[in-house]
Symmetry: C2
Amino acid sequence: MRYSRYFVHTLYEVPKEAETPSHILLLRGCFIYPAAAGVYSLLPLGHRVAEKIKNILRAELNAIDGIEVTLPVLNPAELWKATKRYYHIGQELWRIRDRRDREFVLAMTHEEIITDIAKKFLRSYRDLPVMLYQIQTKIRDEARPRAGLLRVREFFMKDGYSFHPDFEDLDAYYPRIYNAYLRIFARCGVTAVPIEADPGIMGGTGSHEFMLESPSGEDRFVVCSQCDYRANMEKATGLKPRRQDPPGTPPPMEKVPTPGIKTIAQLMDFFKISEEHFLKTVAYDADGELVLAVVRGDFNISPTKLANHLKAVRLDLAPEEALAEKRLHGGFLSPVGLEPGTVRVVVDSSVDDGTLYVAGGNQVDVHLKNVLCGRDFHAPEKVDIAEVRDGDTCTACGRGKLTIRKGIELGHTFKLGTKYTAPDAMDVTYLDADGENRPVIMGCYGIGVERLMASAVEQWHDEAGIIWPLTIAPFQIVITTLGKKTDVDQAAEELYRELTSRWEVLYDDRDESPGVKLKDADLLGIPIRVVVSQRGLKQGRLEVKVRRSGEVLFCSREELPALLEKIQADLMPEMDGLPFMPE
Amino acid sequence: MRYSRYFVHTLYEVPKEAETPSHILLLRGCFIYPAAAGVYSLLPLGHRVAEKIKNILRAELNAIDGIEVTLPVLNPAELWKATKRYYHIGQELWRIRDRRDREFVLAMTHEEIITDIAKKFLRSYRDLPVMLYQIQTKIRDEARPRAGLLRVREFFMKDGYSFHPDFEDLDAYYPRIYNAYLRIFARCGVTAVPIEADPGIMGGTGSHEFMLESPSGEDRFVVCSQCDYRANMEKATGLKPRRQDPPGTPPPMEKVPTPGIKTIAQLMDFFKISEEHFLKTVAYDADGELVLAVVRGDFNISPTKLANHLKAVRLDLAPEEALAEKRLHGGFLSPVGLEPGTVRVVVDSSVDDGTLYVAGGNQVDVHLKNVLCGRDFHAPEKVDIAEVRDGDTCTACGRGKLTIRKGIELGHTFKLGTKYTAPDAMDVTYLDADGENRPVIMGCYGIGVERLMASAVEQWHDEAGIIWPLTIAPFQIVITTLGKKTDVDQAAEELYRELTSRWEVLYDDRDESPGVKLKDADLLGIPIRVVVSQRGLKQGRLEVKVRRSGEVLFCSREELPALLEKIQADLMPEMDGLPFMPE
């Protein structure tokens, strides 16, 4: 491609709101252009990168028996009502009406549509298993689009859906998609950390996220210092260190007036004890029901864990009125002294039965001292609802320390089970070999194309610009001429013609200064730069620069093809050593 | 691909509303599945065909310097307000609001978005010309989705937009896209007739449609029996045969009471004259203004021609109240006797000054006889607003007869000029070589992928099913085994392995009867069928059937590769003889 006839217009200024490296560099390099908040056009360079990612996705998914389809953006709302997601998902599900007032949603994922297809066509055990996938436009009315392509309202998603005769078959297939995901990210040059994940609104029985550790990410996940344990914050568990009270008969509970004392700091000061001696009680509204959640004072409640335990679709902090109705008082909440059966109480497993706590008094300006779980209040629902903390001990190995990291979610795999195929959802069954009707078992698997593109930039950039992994670079080679001499142009033209038969070449034939050309080549991040200059011609040599290493090599015209092949081999992603799941 | 592990579930029943061959066969062959009225999923076979069409589009457009991009479905409404299309386009433009109540449209085409990009990046004459295109999801809230993929509400469109420094440059580029379109349709195996078209809501200064003549089409176009003239009904003109009155001084106009006489048939009977002796006057509401349109009685008014002449965005029949306001009477309308300046009158060129007509009297139960245009009423706006008629003489050659045909619009090319770049639209200018600001000149070019797929089926099918053109067939070859013997399966397996290195092969390895397999192969329309049977094996020969011709050939295993190449060569579309425009 000749630069002068291509569509690249690099920018030196970008909008102030662009803060993450990928946002800034993709705008500056003319890869993308915003149409609205969180809505982008992929300009020619960006389109090329996206196509390369799509082709890697196709190759890896076809290799594990994936079959490509295209499903529509317009989804009839009835299907989403059948699975209840119409009611459970918030405003990010864009609901619209057609000219005849029929309701549609703009699909943010395609479980409903694909399950409807499965219901129509998958009738017999001979039709299973099958994995259908697509790479298609998704629309989500995100509350806060951010960071360029990292969180957007419209994007290409690779979403795949597998259908199985039973859980064993899904379990057998799952490692294949998991490993394909590892290969996909590796082939795109991005270091993905697979972590245990919470299935969230997708529902189901098990899932993994694939994260790129990055300061630009908005997800958090934990990593064990000793073992392979990796999990997202919503799912991660750490060991909760036991507290040890002095031996002897525990003293009885007593009321302590605490006028004007409100914050935890004031309480610690007043009682002269540290955080872990308190019970922290928070009131939630879970699908309309008032729930008190109790953790030890040195922990925080994880709303996701609590919601999962409650199977709640919506979980918010309880409003004042809901507390007043039960004669409870914010700031003095406690699981102690509640009338049995009036309020549901969920207690975190950090609260043990053998140690004394200070708790709220369930009346204004009163706290309770020497509260003993099991004696002064009961905890029929004691489960893990606490957020893991940086430095907690790993539950998996019992030795390592957990560290909390920021990351970008690159992909997500779910074992859905019968969430969408169950009789109370879309009721999809097949006839097994014995003629029995059985529910179809599902898995689903997603990767966002644009986010993967931006993540590659987050991982691979420097001061000067992007450093595209060779596999997804818009062009592999840029030919840059220095000086305007006829012989330079002629040599470059010949080189361009020759190299295009083997490589994707951007030939910078512009009438620009060497400085501008070299700067643009660095900004665009083309992996290999071949410089044709008058001095080089005289010396019979070409200058070859590897963008990633910065290495500069010299060679003759004859040596060039072999050198380029060698550089390519060096730049190809390493597949060995990926943390594959046994298949 | 092994049929048993693929996703093909042919149907013997289809919805009653499926009437056109492509709708029926694409459903029966498991190429598509409806999600809602006019909204389809492309199942694996349909997806494959669409991808082949997309690749042909890409190859031909890249060959004429097209550069691919991806533009978003979500378009901010402001851009569409800037070009006024927000106001001018009816309900087919889907208007939606986001969670912050910002207004968007779901893009049905992308002039606004691409022009916004042009405005940002195309600053200098050195940036021009450039042609950007995409193959991307379009959404239109069609009033009447019909005929499967022929008219839908969501589809892939290839839309391209070219930007030029002046009209001469656009005129020079236009034949290249026109010829690329001819090659695209030919490569897809579809016979496209290029016709002169009306630019319609796209605006602009010249355009062509590419039509497949088909009884399933809903467009009409005219073809000259003698010359190359082809045009759509909205644009077509025929010679309007003159009427000849007897020589002598024309008699004066006179009022004739016509009580109870309303229809044209009654009038002809009453006055004992034929249609062409009447003036037919119809009242329209053109963007709120009352307009009387007058044609000779043997013609009909073309609302599109009238709207174009008036530059009207909306043109409807005038309501009773609008007539009453001007003291006009439906059924007795006439251009005669109107108070000057009160009502705009447009007269068709079929009405000549030298002949006498019967016209309405502009009062109830009265007609006028011996009305002479120029004497009894004036026609300052005499233009062509009549629909062409089957059998009219061609205006282009003056000899041939025009025939009206039904067709499917496959593609459309427009010279847009400055419709979108003008100062009162999006105001896009560039600096020319002399440093002068000049408006950018545009063209735009569209092809619907799914409609092209369906059109191929409309053109290529028989009683037994689809007959895919080889170039867009989901698979080129189907291997069918007859009988369940081990040696048959083994031979087929080997053949499958061998052929897949060169061809796209669907291997029907199902445990089904020969009848079912052969019937499915015909329905799916795979161009070449290779049959492996026990008898064939014994005789050392394979049966090869060409779906299109029905020809059955026999060959040995060794002869097969050469035979397949020969069949392919025979099936490749002919490019010579296409009606190319001189470049």
